[in-house]
């Protein structure tokens, strides 16, 4: 990786007001290819608002989101047309929801969930789509015998892994994750984290992961942004922020973790 390459994503002074209530205020950061940024903070700190601003799912009250498209040209996302934005969301982006049922189509089979994203980018050959879906199920450690089952029959951990396969099958460059390990048993969490960690490294993904779990942030991220009441209170290298927290709020977060 050269040190002077262009960033993939730039958040520049992002603010969001819901009427008079603050979502987030003046958030800026730069994300390069292959980098993982964790956004941490308690519920209501503006983490999820930030994530939705980044993919232009909601409109910012102020600020810009710059994204370097596959053709190398950097665009301001809110200025993209709806069709262009949807195309990006289907191809170059992934979005992993905490609740897998929001990111999956529960009424169709697991294989179709993965295949659907391929069809959206123009794949037509049934055999190839099924073959690729099977490969991806394999990669996320789902038994191929379950390919025709509905995700309704899957456990929470399997659904989450299926959601990840569905997101990654089109080789996106940017993946946004909202509490991907939330609500899972610890052993299931460990397996999912390990999977995410190796996929992120192997595919050189850029990731913004929202989590309230500092252990998840430590394991997956290179950098951390700590948010409180809609604002960034501290940011930096993950181990620096966690091992040498400077702000009172970060010190409180770090000191609240039970030792393993």
């Amino acid at each position: 990786m050269s040190e002077n390459e262009q960033p993939l994503l730039v958040a520049d002074g992002l603010s969001k007001w819901y009427g008079r209530r603050l979502g987030c205020r003046d958030v800026s950061f730069t994300l390069y290819e292959g980098e993982v940024i964790a956004v941490v903070g308690e519920s209501g700190s503006g983490k999820s608002t930030l994530l939705r601003l980044l993919c232009a799912e909601i409109a910012a009250s102020a600020g810009r989101v710059l994204y370097r498209m596959r053709d190398g040209i950097t665009r301001n996302l809110p200025e993209l047309g709806e069709a262009e934005r949807r195309f990006l969301a289907r191809t170059d982006w992934g979005y992993v929801h905490q609740d897998a049922s929001l990111g999956l189509r529960m009424a169709v089979s697991a294989g179709a969930n993965v295949g659907e994203r391929l069809m959206a980018v123009g794949w037509r050959h049934y055999g190839r789509i099924r073959g690729t879906a099977a490969d991806w199920l394999d990669r996320v450690e789902i038994d191929n015998a379950r390919i025709d089952d509905s995700p309704r029959t899957y456990s929470g951990g399997m659904r989450q892994r299926l959601q990840i396969a569905r997101n990654l099958v089109t080789a996106p460059r940017l993946v946004l994750m909202d509490e991907p390990t939330g609500g899972l048993d610890v052993s299931v969490q460990a397996r999912l984290l390990d999977l995410l960690r190796s996929l992120v490294t192997d595919l050189k993904l850029s990731v913004v992961i929202v989590t309230h779990d500092l252990a998840v942030a430590r394991l997956l991220s290179h950098r951390i942004i700590v948010m409180k009441d809609g604002m960034v209170v501290e940011s930096g290298l993950t181990d620096q922020v966690l091992d040498d927290p400077r702000e009172a709020y970060t010190q409180l977060l770090v000191s609240s973790i039970l030792p393993p």
Binding site: E3, R191, R197, D243, D244, L252
Partner: protein, 234 residues
């Protein structure tokens, strides 16, 4: 003598906001340098800030004052003010660190834990595993353990995994925090040999070693921590 690392006027204070803003000075005016092929040992009792200095050099602690200059490939970077992205590049290409304790990741086999710094630098998986295997063998880690996650290993085994991980990538500056604390005599000698190998190849090493015999063997210079006392009379 080519200087690889230079600290001047480095100071560190912890401010504990949860204890009413209590200020804990750790070190002040830390000034010393390390040449290529030289091993400098930080000496002093527990709690005087030796590990804190290593952590400031590695960037996991912030440096409040002073400069930490690292020289590599005709470039000079001040770690005290380097951006996170610059630190990430330095860790990939310049700074190796063997911490006191291995931070084991669930489910990742020992062999991959050791090979990871090479993969991060772009070495092929096959070559990275080959080098990791060679180092694990040299450190007498039973080959039956290579495929297992180190979380369940003994203290000495974990320490050797950590050492292998720190040495595998042949980085020009190496930080060692009590690398032999949990090792028996035979394995301690392996570590001494590894350090001597690396010194011959020009690596600059900063180490914390409590064992007198080992310090005697590897140190080219000893820096007494009393010089940097931030709490006179403490």
């Amino acid at each position: 003598m080519t200087i690889a690392l230079e600290l001047s006027g480095v100071a560190k204070t912890f401010t504990m906001h949860l204890q009413g803003g209590l200020c804990l000075p750790v070190v002040s005016d830390v000034t010393f340098s390390v040449a290529r092929g030289e091993c400098v040992v930080l000496a002093g009792p527990s709690g005087v800030g030796k590990s804190s200095i290593l952590k400031m050099i590695f960037g996991s602690y912030r440096c409040d004052r002073g400069r930490i200059l690292v020289h590599h490939e005709a470039r000079q970077t001040d770690i005290a003010t380097a951006s996170p992205r610059c630190m990430m590049a330095l860790r990939r290409h310049t700074l190796g660190y063997v911490s006191q304790f291995l931070r084991a990741v669930p489910r990742v086999p020992a062999l991959d834990v050791v090979a990871e710094p090479l993969l991060a630098r772009g070495t092929s998986r096959e070559e990275a595993r080959r080098q990791a295997t060679a180092l694990l063998t040299r450190l007498n880690i039973d080959s039956r353990l290579w495929g297992l996650a180190p979380a369940t290993f003994s203290g000495g085994e974990q320490q050797r995994i950590n050492i292998a991980r720190g040495f595998v990538a042949d980085l020009p500056v190496l930080l060692l925090d009590e690398p032999t604390a949990a090792l028996d005599a035979a394995n301690s000698h392996v570590v001494v040999d590894l350090v001597e190998d690396r010194k011959r190849r020009g690596t600059a090493i900063i180490a914390i070693v409590h064992d007198d015999a080992i310090r005697e063997r590897i140190a080219d210079a000893i820096v007494a921590m009393t010089l940097f006392n931030a709490r006179p009379g403490a």
